[in-house]
């Protein structure tokens, strides 16, 4: 018989961003620990992680095991002993002949265990293992760890409770609804589970909560700026989401849009809408007396007032007059202040060929760290500096460079809009990287407190897409970032990236151009066979331990395929790769078909190796084709 299974781990509010990962973790742990669970569906709200299966066998399948006993010739005592151990009589034993003679055996039936027992044993081990980035203990120092305290557990197989206990909480059939709108004790009937939750103002399905938010916003008739990340946050921050619209006073439109958006989006989790409107998402069913709307409007007004106050206060001291103040702002304990960082950055700007505008931007770029507005809205660093520089009359070249200098903040983000901005952004990041590496602060595993990977990734992206020409630092760390950029951001195949990078990767624009060409010639019919041949050539050279250095002596070449290949390689020397491939490929094929590289005569052999080596070298500045994975290899 198959029955449905339900596990609901009731907790205090789990951080929204951890929930999807926790569900995946629970799924894989449970499926591995409990055989026969089958397909499971996962759901969650901030207060519950839920796993359900529809067809779980009540009992695991019976099994048989052949137990071998003493030889047939063994003394009766031994045979009796064997039977006794199995709890059967001697006459129930069988005699079977094996290759080594006849032996007593017994076919033992192992009854499949009740799934309920397996679950009861497994779940107390599974649940505490669910992965969360940060955990706590709450029952005492040696108690279990979880993301937040576990307050109830529903574990039902059919109508029966799967009994176990975690952190002093016994599993049962009692769940809880929405904190204020629902009942705090709901006796769960597995087939009505979702419905029971719903009538207690808990929408179990994240997809349905998402849909309810979207529909609710549409019904409000307010046009919001789409914001998928915020939507996702709100889906996992609520059990019963309901959007409401609010508005703010027109006078706040004089605040820069960047500041308004940051307040609304990051601090208040509002969707921004056209004009003076916003949408908040409540974790409740309605706002009949408009108390929630008025409350949110009041909070927003206070926040905007704060921002306006900071904006006005900050204007009393120009950015240019704040350079000295940077001596009091720590960059990193061992690396001194932002004042020193700015000085170094100016130096790098000069190395990169920046003009006086770039130097000025680099000197002022960090000054906004001393402003009230950035102390309040740290995520607006750079942007605020740019805005202040603009109103304080700095030229566009300068203020835009300040505004953009943290860009790109992610691989989806754009690079700074001007060449000056790109130079300042590069210099800032290169300084961070150089200095942190100098004091041994290499990122390791998930530990990268200074976001050095992101900084290096930014350097690669700016050099690949921007107007600045400078070599990428040549170390393993950057090599990984370059590889990541072209593979994961630009979408080239990993073997294309390997092939092109093998021909050099210090010039990002050159590498980008070669990769694009490589991608284009790859589907041509002659390319992959040629690449396979190149791999063969590379192997031959390696086996022969041949590293080049000889000029090919044409007089040693055999007429026919060998001479033909040589002539062809001479013909295409210096030409566009694309033009040569089609003619080269049959010559290479024929060569390998008819000519033995390992000739008897050592001179001839060495000459052939030299020719092949030169052929590979011809492509060396473009790509190492032997890195291409071909269907034949």
């Amino acid at each position: 018989m198959s029955v449905p299974f339900l596990l609901e781990i009731g907790t205090e509010e789990i951080p929204d961003w951890m929930i999807p990962g926790a569900l995946e973790s629970l799924r894989s742990l449970a499926v591995a620990a409990v055989p026969g669970l089958g397909e499971v569906t996962m759901d969650a709200t901030p207060r519950r992680l839920v796993m359900r299966a529809t067809n779980v066998p009540e009992k695991q399948a019976d099994q048989e095991e052949l137990v071998q006993g003493p030889a047939k010739a063994a003394p009766p005592k031994a045979v009796e002993g064997f039977a006794r151990k199995l709890g059967v009589k001697v006459e129930n034993l069988q005699v079977q002949s094996t290759g080594k003679g006849e032996y007593y055996t017994f076919l033992r039936k192992i009854e499949g265990r009740a799934t309920k027992d397996i679950l009861a044993e497994a779940l107390p081990g599974v649940i505490p293992k669910i992965y969360f980035p940060k955990t706590m203990y709450w029952t005492g120092k040696s108690g279990p760890r979880f993301i937040r305290p576990i307050r109830w557990i529903v574990a039902l197989l059919g109508s029966e409770v799967v009994p176990f206990e975690i952190a002093g909480v016994k599993s049962g059939k009692t769940s809880a609804g929405h904190r204020r709108l629902g009942s705090s004790e709901i006796g769960i009937n597995i087939k009505d589970y979702e419905l029971q939750l719903r009538s207690n103002y808990v929408i179990l399905s994240a997809a349905e909560r998402r849909q309810k938010i979207e529909q609710g916003i549409a019904d409000l008739g307010v046009k919001i700026k789409p914001d998928p990340a915020l939507l996702e946050t709100l889906v996992y921050l609520t059990e019963y989401p309901t959007p409401i619209a609010g508005s703010f006073d027109e006078s706040f439109l004089e605040l820069p849009e960047e500041v308004r958006t940051t307040v609304m989006r990051h601090h208040q989790r509002y969707f921004t809408a056209e004009g003076t409107h916003f949408v908040a998402v409540m974790n409740t069913s309605e706002d009949p007396e408009a108390l929630v709307r008025l409350g949110n409007e009041r909070v927003l007004r206070a926040r905007f007032n704060d921002a306006r106050f900071f904006w006005q206060t900050d204007q009393k001291k120009k950015l240019a007059d704040r350079v000295e103040d940077l001596k009091l702002v720590t960059f990193q304990a061992k690396l001194g202040s932002y004042y020193e960082k700015a000085e170094r950055t100016v130096g790098i700007v000069k190395e990169l060929g920046g003009d006086t505008a770039a130097e000025r931007a680099a000197r002022l770029a960090k000054c906004d760290l001393t402003t009230e507005l950035v102390k309040e809205f740290t995520e607006l660093q750079g942007v605020v500096g740019g805005l202040y520089a603009k109103v304080q009359g700095e030229p566009a070249e300068v203020w835009q460079a300040i505004y953009d200098h943290y860009k790109p903040v992610s691989m989806e983000d754009a690079i700074p809009r001007t060449r000056t901005g790109q130079i300042v952004a590069l210099a800032d990041k290169l300084d961070t990287l150089r200095e942190c590496f100098r004091i041994g602060m290499m990122p390791s595993g998930s530990k990268d407190p200074f976001a050095l990977r992101r900084a290096a990734q930014g350097v690669v992206k700016i050099l690949a897409e921007g107007e600045v020409s400078a070599p990428v630092p040549s170390d393993d760390f950057f090599e990984d970032r370059v590889r990541f950029y072209f593979r994961d951001v630009r979408g080239y195949q990993y073997d294309e990236v390997n092939a092109a990078m093998a021909a050099g990767w210090s010039d990002m624009k050159d590498l980008a151009a070669r990769l694009e060409r490589l991608k284009n010639i790859r589907p041509t019919p002659d390319f992959e066979p040629l690449a396979a041949s190149f791999k063969r050539i590379k192997n031959i050279l390696r086996q022969a331990e041949y590293t080049g250095g000889d000029a090919v002596r044409p007089e040693l070449l055999e007429a026919g395929p060998e001479k033909d290949l040589y002539d062809e390689s001479q013909r295409i020397a210096g030409q566009q790769i694309e033009a040569g491939i089609a003619a080269l490929r049959p010559k290479v094929d024929l060569f390998f078909d008819k000519v033995l590289v390992n000739a008897q005569d050592p001179q001839v052999r060495r000459n052939r190796l030299a020719m092949l080596h030169n052929l590979l070298a011809e492509f060396k500045t473009f790509a190492d084709f032997s890195e291409i994975v071909t269907s034949s290899s």
């Binding site: 205090e12 509010e13 951080p15 929204d16 961003w17 901030p46 940060k134 706590m136 203990y137 709450w138 029952t139 005492g140 120092k141 937040r148 305290p149 307050r151 904190r179 204020r180 709108l181 705090s184 921050l237 609520t238 208040q268 509002y270 908040a280 409540m282 974790n283 409740t284 706002d287 009949p288 007396e289 108390l291 929630v292 008025l294 409350g295 949110n296 009041r298 909070v299 927003l300 007004r301 206070a302 007032n305 704060d306 106050f309 103040d325 001596k327 009091l328 702002v329 720590t330 960059f331 304990a333 001194g336 202040s337």
Partner: protein, 297 residues
Amino acid sequence: MDSFQQIIFKLKQYWAERGCIIQEPYDVEVGAGTMCPETFLRVLGPQPYRVAYVQPSRRPADGRYGENPNRLYKHQQLQVILKPSPDDVIEQYLGSLEAIGIDLRKHDIKFEEDNWEAPTLGAWGVGWQVMLDGLEITQFTYFQQCGGIDLELVPAELTYGLERLTAFLQFRDSVYDIEWTKGFTYRDVRFQDELQYSVYNFEMADVPTLWKLFELHEGEATRLLDLYKKSSEKARFPLLPTYDQVLKCSNIFNTLDARGAISVTERVGVIARVRKLAVGTANAWLDQQTAGQEAAA
């Protein structure tokens, strides 16, 4: 509509009914209610404890001369410590909001992740900021470590920002406009305070004097902690006065910081110095409590 002080009375009453000792504010300057011995030292060790108190909390750098409607040099926190945290702690907390007249079925309440850390105290915990209609009204923390020590019983710490909460309940846009009690606004009671301390902290505090004071208090704390180690009469050793010296250091450090007098290289070092004293006191205190119990047993 409840006045500022009525809201305080009601919250104290509510927590008193739930077994809390109602303490009065600590009489040494602190930056937060957490730093009072009633929290910092009481959360250590195996003794259950429940306490609630209003603590005026000084943040010199947050002073705004009384001009900013929401930012204060000194604000009043209601600090509640429930050690160990009861299973229904969130329900109890929500009940406290209802006790001051907030009908939660008509409002939106959310618990948003916010983990708390105080490097100078060697303390951290996990929890939430509690949002009421978009306003952060409480910091809710499950302490995990204090003075660098893993806590045996996990306390829940509830910190209510009383000015904000009252402004919300009284529909005021500025904390200075809230009614402290009939006939007196917050401004009437506290404006001079805000103005004068801002002037002192930002403009007039004498930096060499403050450094001298810092070193005197640090010296005294260090001297006492060293003496404790050698003391043969540990049970009566004055660790509470030692901790006062640590608090003095912390407040002077904050003032120096607001004054812009702490350079980059100094800053990290000074935090480490205060932390060393706090951790030293916490460890000594735990030792003293445990020794005391063993003696009694």
